[in-house]
């Protein structure tokens, strides 16, 4: 056989393989990840709950009967109604009302949305900062690396909630004079973002150290691609995998941190309640018997965090080839 015939043969083979290659949908359908998702009832249930709650939060405006952020829609006369099925409940308020006459069901939906948005924004800031610094530390090495990692080590000796509290205090001092309604959101997002970057930085740095000695990076360097471009276009896609797991678990942590700060009175004001703020309001009424104000937001938060945690655990195991 001649070389030419060989080449044609190879070409045909490649074409044939390409034709046979399954679509991404089929690949997903046959993948290990989906199989392991479907094989665990707990994972499916927590996935279902997570999606349900996110959808509920996203479409709060349409689902909720009233807008708890709008002072015109609430009436103080309606305050402290128990849930509908309890004696003395009002059919208008499914889960009862709080001390300002807000419908609790609506407040939970809106509060869930606030908690989610702050959690997601905080995690995005933490991930961006952590991935950036991790890449830089791993790729640059030397003094830059030593400095960034020392800072990370020191921050790691403190629990995240403590860091968030200190940052909250400082940012609060910087924003002094502005009304809390305008600053609370920013303060929370910055506190959460700066508290959780370390884990990303450490993970990304570790993988970057491995990647940067591989041939493709050397090749990219040889043909004169500038370092920032190599980091972003070539190294980053190869180190991003483990970050996904941290993202999921961190979302639960960020939401807990937001709720804790709001519960401690350092987060969102009662006029734009998150789940934590609702629990804070409810905690004051625990002794007078109005249990529903604290119970429903509390259960919502607990179930959501548990579901996201279980999903994160599953994702960690599913993406870890050693456990397959």
């Amino acid at each position: 056989m001649t070389d030419q015939a060989d080449a044609v043969d190879v070409k045909a083979q490649v074409e044939a393989t390409r034709a046979r290659a399954p679509s991404w949908l089929a690949r997903f359908r046959d993948s290990d990840i989906l199989a392991s998702f479907l094989s665990s009832k707990v994972t499916m249930l927590s996935g279902f709950i997570t999606v349900l709650m996110i959808v509920g939060a996203l479409f709060a405006t349409w689902i909720a009967p009233t807008n708890p952020f709008d002072p015109a829609s609430v009436n103080l006369i309606d305050s402290l109604f128990p849930p509908r099925w309890v004696e003395g409940g009002d059919p208008r308020f499914l889960l009862g009302t709080d001390n300002q006459g807000r419908d609790l069901w609506s407040a939970i939906l809106y509060g869930m949305r606030v908690s989610l948005i702050i959690g997601i924004c905080g995690v995005i800031i933490a991930a961006t900062l952590g991935i950036g610094l991790g890449l830089l530390a791993g790729y640059a090495g030397g003094r830059v690396d030593a400095f960034i990692m020392r800072v990370a080590d020191i921050q790691l000796t403190f629990p995240a909630i403590l860091i968030a509290l200190v940052i909250d205090g400082v940012v609060r001092a910087l924003f002094k004079g502005l009304p809390r309604e305008q600053t609370a959101f920013g303060v929370l997002v910055i506190s959460i973002g700066l508290s959780f970057w370390v884990q990303y930085a450490r993970t990304v740095r570790g993988s970057t150290l491995v990647e940067k000695n591989k041939d493709y990076v050397q090749a990219a360097r040889l043909i004169g691609i500038p370092a920032p471009l190599i980091m972003l276009r070539h190294v980053l896609p190869n180190v991003i995998g483990p970050v996904l797991v941290i993202l999921t678990i961190n979302l639960a942590l960020a939401i807990i941190t937001e709720a804790t700060l709001s519960f401690l009175g350092l987060g969102l004001p009662p006029t734009q309640p998150s789940l934590g703020t609702l629990i804070r309001i409810g905690n004051d009424f625990l002794f007078s018997g109005e249990w529903w104000i604290v119970a429903f937001p509390g259960v919502t938060l607990a179930v959501f965090v548990l579901a996201v945690n279980l999903l994160g655990d599953w994702l960690r195991d599913a993406l870890n080839p050693k456990l397959r």
């Binding site: 000796t157 403590l162 200190v166 205090g169 804790t260 519960f263 401690l264 350092l266 905690n283 604290v294």
Partner: protein, 325 residues
């Protein structure tokens, strides 16, 4: 061994210095400290005089040196809110926090280790599954939700335990203790359980994992082959070898218990350092914030150091590798 301790000591000092820089920077970040001291209508000349008097026109590095020198002698300045020395405020509240942290840590060890051993030895039984499920809840639930739940059940609903405060306190010199009176002991139960629950689940999972690991080793098989009773194998051989990492983790967690105590203290209105710090954050009381930060860093560093040294003392395998290093 000596070189190892010396190196560790040097690292600890560096960490403390770094935290000192942060604590000092806090003062700078929030603007002109003169504004915190004087009223709005103080004339400029008067402000200048106070500035000179307090040494605020010196270079930052000189001021930082002075701050550190004072901090070493436990002089952290005057609280903006209380107009009292920060050291005195923290000193008054420290016994409450340390007692709470100590009882919580003890509780988590006493309950966590047996639960871990049980779940490792009797895998798959209903009680084991229950413990594992409980531990998942303990890890996932935010501390303040657990605190509210316990308070609702045991104080509001059943009325068994007090819902806030420390009960009657006995003064022993500078130390005020609630552990000597019945009301004080009753008052510490709920906060200590709240605070210890997370650590307990952590210790339980750790003991379980370590036990499962150790039970697979050759010397356990050999001990069984020698015909030793289950009891001797499980507790004499297996458990003993799991305790080293457990003690390490428990020690390292002591610092975070003290830090996490602030949420528990807030819910139960426990008169400790955490509650003081929270109030400081709310009112931007920088001297208290900075001092608390330094104190926590100090506790962390000391605990880390002690655990490292203990580790070397307990585990002979580590000692040789340290000498080599």
């Amino acid at each position: 061994m000596f070189a190892f301790i010396l190196r560790r000591l040097l690292q600890s000092v560096l960490v403390l210095l770094a935290v000192g820089v942060i604590a000092f920077a806090l003062f700078r970040l929030v603007g002109d400290p003169i504004n915190q001291i004087v009223s709005l209508d103080t004339p400029a000349a008067e402000r200048e005089r106070i500035r000179l008097e307090l040494g605020l026109d010196d270079p930052s590095i000189v001021q930082f040196g002075r701050y550190l020198a004072r901090a070493v002698t436990l002089d952290f300045g005057i609280s903006y809110q209380f107009r009292q020395p920060v050291a005195k405020l923290i000193g008054e509240r420290m016994p409450a926090t340390l007692e709470l942290a100590f009882v919580a840590a003890l509780l988590s060890l006493i309950v966590g280790i047996p639960m871990g051993v049980y779940t490792a030895l009797r895998r798959g039984t209903a009680l084991s599954s229950l413990f594992m499920a409980l531990s998942l809840v303990g890890v996932s639930l935010p501390t303040f939700l657990i605190a509210i739940l316990l308070r609702y059940i045991f104080s509001v609903h059943l009325g068994w335990l007090p819902s806030f405060g420390r009960g009657t306190v006995v003064q022993l010199g500078f130390w005020s203790t609630g552990l000597l009176t019945v009301s004080g002991l009753k008052a510490i139960i709920l906060p200590a359980v709240t605070l210890g629950l997370f650590q307990m689940t952590l210790i339980m999972r750790l003991v379980r994992a370590e036990m499962l690991e150790v039970l697979r080793t050759d010397y356990i098989k050999f001990a069984r082959a020698r015909g030793l009773s289950d009891r001797a194998v499980h507790f004499g051989h297996a458990l003993k070898n799991t305790l080293v990492p457990v003690i390490t983790i428990a020690g390292l967690q002591l610092g975070s218990i003290i830090a996490f105590a602030l949420i528990t203290e807030y819910v139960f209105q426990w008169p400790g350092m955490g509650a003081l710090f929270l109030g400081a954050v709310q009112n931007v009381d920088i001297p208290i914030m900075a001092a608390y930060l330094l104190l926590i860093a100090f506790i962390f560093v000391i605990v880390n150091l002690v655990v490292d040294i203990l580790y070397a003392v307990v585990d002979p395998r580590l000692r040789t590798s340290m000498q080599a290093a």
